[in-house]
Symmetry: C2
Subunit: 240 residues, 2 copies
DNA sequence: CGGCAAACGTAACCAAGGTTAATGTCATGA
DNA sequence: TCATGACATTAACCTTGGTTACGTTTGCCG
């Protein structure tokens, strides 16, 4: 199986064989880490660039009152920000959600790649834009949608992202979120997330059970969510 | 008075005189536009890079049900994303909030600058990071804070940003938001924003009246907001 | 000056979602 | 086997913030 990171970038720009070779070589340092392992903690000096090769992670921020807000989910091919070398310290945490295979690219090497390889740079820009698009979509989600729509929208996003990297088959895919994690992502309480999931299940729209998402009625799901996947800029953007 | 855009970038990286001259020259095309003028509409092909020299603007997204979610406020020195040339079309709108002076830099010229001038590129990266930090802060705000905290937090952000560009004197500054706009930024209704503002006013924390913010008790305001301005990476980051 | 449009201010009522807490399920490991 | 702990489920109750509706203020333009 080939490198999820390289594959992702190939989807964003027409990398040459030389580009691919360079990127692949940069991923030589790979670790297996268990679920719940922190890759980055708030306050850390930013060091290598972490790349998800297998498994999921998420970025989050804690509030003084103990609340947690999840800011992004990372799935295979996703990576931490490349440009943070300008920062003195990280302003959020990143932790694995499942067992994961993580490559660490030395920041200097990353810089060198960007300087030497315009096509690679282009691919990074593109991925940067997609990430910003996701952040904006989350703001819209939290600001203007109600619970059911919010959960539905996040499920659409995650499903499409999984499908774009070839990890969804049919209307089903592995989405390893507990209701607690889901709640911290959509800005609700776990109790209410449970209510929402029940409602979606009874309405025969979707089921999320044991880390597995099953979309029963894709059209209805996208309708509820008001989902338009353009911001993900994948090959296959629309549900239904 | 010098160019707000160039000043901003100077704050992010040590630009040489030559860099400054190039950037200044790029801003030769300047327009005066009235309040409520759209710079960018969803669906437009992305063309020049818009730079705010004077006045405010904001980016937003409409929902099918007519709801509007504001995604960002642009103040002098801020600019639209540089890298969107990879996109086929814009995925959100940008409109002026006040009369404004706007420079339009041809995208090709921007590219050339980035290719030729590493320090300028560095400054753009930094500003990109700040923008992402702001987006993340908004997600936290909407997901995990209640109305009073939300409004307080946004006011802190805007005040500090204004102070960073020298447009706040003492505990006062011009923040040209109507309650409707504010509501669409924090994900509340105008009616409730009004309640919140009243409460903050009666508690002698802050007043927002006729486009002017007056912070009466900066420490209390920052406390309510749970504000930590690190993500803005300005020189003067903390209130109180 | 008068009339109009925007924005602000308030009140009464209501619903979405938070809180608390009890119970169920299931995998793990001693 | 039983204890443990994490997660899911559900119910009763309550709070925050949304809805609707209307009055007031302000600034602008004929």
């Amino acid at each position: 199986m080939s490198n999820a990171f390289v594959e992702r970038l190939r989807g964003y720009a027409p990398l040459s064989d030389a580009d691919v070779a360079l990127l692949t070589k940069s991923c030589r340092t790979v670790r297996d880490v268990p679920a719940g392992h922190h890759l980055i903690r708030e306050g850390d000096p930013p060091d290598p660039v972490f790349v998800m090769l297998e498994g999921w992670a998420f970025g989050y921020k804690m509030l003084p009152d103990g609340g947690r807000q999840i800011l992004a989910f990372l799935m295979p091919g996703d990576f931490c920000d490349i440009h943070i070398e300008v920062l003195k310290e990280m302003d959020h945490n990143i932790v694995t959600l499942t067992e994961a295979k993580i490559a660490s690219l030395p920041r200097a090497e990353m810089e060198a790649l960007v300087d030497a390889r315009p096509t690679i740079t282009h691919a990074f820009w593109w991925s940067q834009l997609v990430n910003q698009g996701v952040l904006r979509a989350w703001i819209v989600n939290m600001g203007r949608r109600k619970s059911e729509e919010r959960v539905a929208h996040l499920m659409c996003e995650l499903y499409i992202r999984m499908r774009n990297i070839g990890l969804a088959s049919g209307d089903q895919c592995e989405i390893p979120l507990t209701q607690i994690v889901l709640a911290d992502a959509v800005g609700l309480t776990p109790v209410h997330v449970n209510r929402v999931l029940k409602k979606l299940r009874l309405a025969k729209v979707m089921e999320l059970k044991a880390g597995s998402l099953n979309i029963i009625d894709p059209v209805k799901l996208a309708q509820i969510a008001g989902f338009d996947g353009n911001y993900l800029h994948g090959r296959l953007q629309k549900v239904g």
